[in-house]
């Protein structure tokens, strides 16, 4: 009996003595993983900023970084749900490659008339992605074939179809500019540029590229609005908690967190604004990330996925249709793989047989670096996104430094292992 009631007196004592401090400590420790990860990303960025003599944060490089890694992050959103539900998907790279090839064939080779319009093609491709996800998910959900095996088969099948579709080793292109804008485009400046420092004019009367400072005002406005919205909604959620009489994190901590977050965001917005503005693909990513954060944190379906990954039997006995839920998770993965494939093709401007080759490993690594558990039930969208950026920044930074590709892989492997060991160590300590 004594052990039964042991936790209660302890906590109430702590509450009486220093409630504020206890809440602060618990708020810090519960979010330590998330904060730790973001801090790690910042440290890694600063490290490369230093070793590349300031190239990393240059506006043009930031745009490159986003464009190079966006497909990894888009697919990591789906992979997070797959891994949280206790599965894995090895086929995403091949599916992306196949969808890229399909899109290119539809737009360039096949005489489809009006249907070779990039928008129509993109929609068709996303639907095909959903069907692929459904086909794989069906076997996993309803026939209990291990996802590792089903998606390993998918990986072989779709890479094969991708190559066959492109007719052996050839590439198909060029793709229409309006399609390429998905990856390499920037949002239009509807407000108009604002020149702060006029560009230097050389003796020949021509402006020197990169001199002066002109801001893409739409980007600035969007950035400022986003930051204000972030602060406003944070404050509102806080108020709501307090109004209902629940403890929120201490106000100073909240302020510091919001200020640091806003400052970082504004810095990045400024960098983008001083180049060509926000990349279209960054907008796509931003919308998707917000959507997935909302789905996982606030929606019943998200909650059910976590419950299923945490204890499938208990979830089932709580009335959750785990089969259908698994199917949906894989359909979602299929759609995002397709989107990843479109993004890759749009960036390359053509479909190549090796598009997305091996990217499933980067995607899975991003999710695990982001703190997801291989056993399922644990993982955060933001974690996976930051994990994806950590991988991306390392790729980008090491490439600028001129590190050999072989050694880049070694470093990435070590970082993945280190992140997971850090997690396991923390868990055992707690």
């Amino acid at each position: 009996m004594s052990t039964e009631s042991a936790p209660a007196p302890q906590s109430s004592v702590a509450e009486d003595v220093q409630p504020g401090r206890r809440i602060a400590v618990s708020a810090l420790t519960t979010n330590l993983r998330e904060y730790g990860l973001i801090i790690a990303l910042i440290v890694i960025m600063l490290f490369f900023q230093y070793t590349t003599s300031g190239t990393l944060f240059k506006p043009v490089n930031l745009s490159n970084l986003v464009q190079q890694n966006s497909f990894i992050i888009v697919m990591a959103l789906g992979m997070l749900l797959v891994i949280v539900s206790g599965h894995i998907d090895l086929s995403v790279g091949s599916v992306a490659g196949f969808i890229g090839a399909l899109a290119a064939m539809m737009m360039v080779i096949w005489p489809l008339g009006i249907f070779s319009n990039p928008l129509v093609v993109s929609i068709v491709c996303l639907i095909v992605g959903a069907l692929i996800g459904a086909a794989q998910g069906y076997w996993i959900a309803y026939h209990r074939i291990p996802s590792f095996i089903v998606t390993l088969a998918g990986m072989l099948i779709f890479r094969g179809i991708c190559q066959a579709l492109l007719g052996g080793g050839s590439s198909v292109g060029p793709l229409p500019d309006s399609f390429k804008a998905l990856s390499s485009g920037f949002i239009p400046d509807v407000i108009g540029p604002l020149t702060l420092i006029p560009p230097t004019v050389n003796a020949a009367g021509k402006t020197i590229v990169g001199s002066g400072l002109t801001l893409h005002m739409t980007t600035v406005v969007l950035g400022v609005v986003a930051v204000l919205a972030y602060a406003y909604f944070g404050l509102r959620a806080r108020r709501k908690r307090e109004r209902h009489g629940y403890e929120a994190e201490p106000f100073p901590l909240f302020v510091v967190k919001t200020l640091v977050g806003s400052a970082l965001a504004l810095f990045l917005v400024f960098q983008f604004a001083s180049y060509k503005g926000l990349p279209v693909v960054l907008m796509v990513m931003g919308v998707l990330i917000s959507l997935f954060v909302f789905v996982t944190k606030r929606m019943t379906i998200g909650r059910r996925i976590y419950a299923m990954g945490g204890n499938a039997k208990a979830a089932q006995l709580s009335g959750i249709n785990t089969e259908r839920l698994t199917l949906l998770v894989f359909i979602n993965m299929g759609v995002l793989s397709a989107l990843g494939g479109l993004i890759i093709a749009a960036r390359l401007g053509q479909a190549v047989p090796a598009a997305g080759l091996g990217s499933e490993l980067d995607v899975i690594a991003a999710v695990f670096i982001g703190g997801a558990s291989a056993m399922g039930g644990v993982g955060q969208v933001i974690g996976a996104v930051v994990g994806g950026f950590i991988m991306g920044v390392m790729n980008n930074g090491m490439s600028i430094m001129g590190v050999n590709v072989d050694w880049q892989q070694v470093v990435k492997g070590l970082v993945l292992l280190g992140a997971v060991i850090f997690d396991v160590y923390n868990k055992n300590k707690a």
Partner: protein, 518 residues
Amino acid sequence: MRQGVEFLMASTILEMRDITKTFPGVKALSNVNLSVEEGEIHAIVGENGAGKSTLMKVLSGVYPSGTYEGEIIFRGQECHFKGIHDSEHIGIVIIHQELALVPMLSITENIFLGNEHATYGVIDWNANEKRTGALLKKVGLKEDPKTLITNIGVGKQQLVEIAKALSKEVKLLILDEPTASLSEKDSQALLDLLLEFKRQGMTSILISHKLNEVNRVADKVTVIRDGRTIETLPRKDITEDRIITSMVGRSLDDRYPPREPQIGEVIFEVKDWSVYHPIHAERQVIKNINLNVRKGEVVGIAGLMGAGRTEFAMSLFGRSYGRHITGEVSLHGKPIDLSSVSKAVENRIAYVTEDRKTYGLNLIDHIKHNVTLANLGGVSNRGVIDDMREMSVANDYRKKTNIRASSVYQLTGNLSGGNQQKVVLSKWLFADPELLILDEPTRGIDVGAKYEIYTIIARLAAEGKAIIVISSEMPELLGISDRIYVMNEGRIVGEMAASDASQEKIMRAIVRGEGKAS
């Protein structure tokens, strides 16, 4: 070596003294004493949860030396086992209730698993198979040593386990409920084998709740109740009546909250419910069960482990167990469809599992998320969860069921058994059921938490819910139910009003039902 050793009688092979074993929240054994003589069959009996299996786990080193108090003296030596390996090394071999065989390996491979006849890691299959042949002969099993375990029946698997024990030069063989899953014929064969071993001079400990079997083979019986040794009966005193009295003989004091049952009309009715085993399709697990529950009534289902009570409940609840399920269920006289868990929940039926860790909770998530899991619709609008509403629901149930935790954000995996049970209960209470099936609601939790669970049950009944309680603890059933069904081997073998039920009556219904079925 201790001085006390000299005082032991020469014929005593095993002496366990003052064994006390505590789990978080539960004292499983307190000062248990057991003395086994060379060459005898010593039976240990007791209700489920009395501590029999725990005692054997202490003896075989599953719970290593240091995690319990007391001493074990085997053949004059004080023993400190660090694991099963140590105890097997000196000849104590235990055969657990759940067989520990690898299904896809052959009989030979299983018998010598980890103990193969090999030279530098290269296995001599001929030698192994020859020895297996000899061992199988000893246990009277006529099977090719190459046969895969999965291809032989449970009875034969049990014999393979015994052959495996013999291969280890066993001095003391412990069998934990060896006949629980065997047919009458296989059980008889097994008991005959035990008697044969005894003639050859082997000592065995038999854990069983089948008193007729104990009666047949045991030289001595030690009765354990509530983690204590009650008495050890010599052969001449062994009768079923004597053992039953000793097993259940405790007073029903005020361990149950007072109730004034207000029983209304029949709410829930099951007719002709039959279920077959999910894997062994020919085995009928539940045999034509008829049962009803009234408004405000607490109906108990008594029975021993393996009687089919959990299987019955789970097959009702969204067909979560078994195949070829037939029968009718009605709620308020109208037939209802319970073919999936969500339909069962919609029909306001809830099942609180006996195994809260495996089937009840998401242990890596906190209390709040677990409480709302079965009724997320109750805290959301169009699929979007209202965090504040969820928070107040969780806090509300935390208060109602008295969950002791620092906050609703505590992980359920870190709670004590009693508090975990309250979380599972809260989850189902929030789903607002009319019929609540509670499967072993107080298993593995301490007396104080038990009382709290009983109070919740009493309150729910007073609110007019219909409640089924499945329990292996007879005093508990007698203490909280209004009416009791007795189940054995998939059938209802008795029904009685709690007012004229007694532990002896229930036990008799079970024992009488034993053997009839097969």
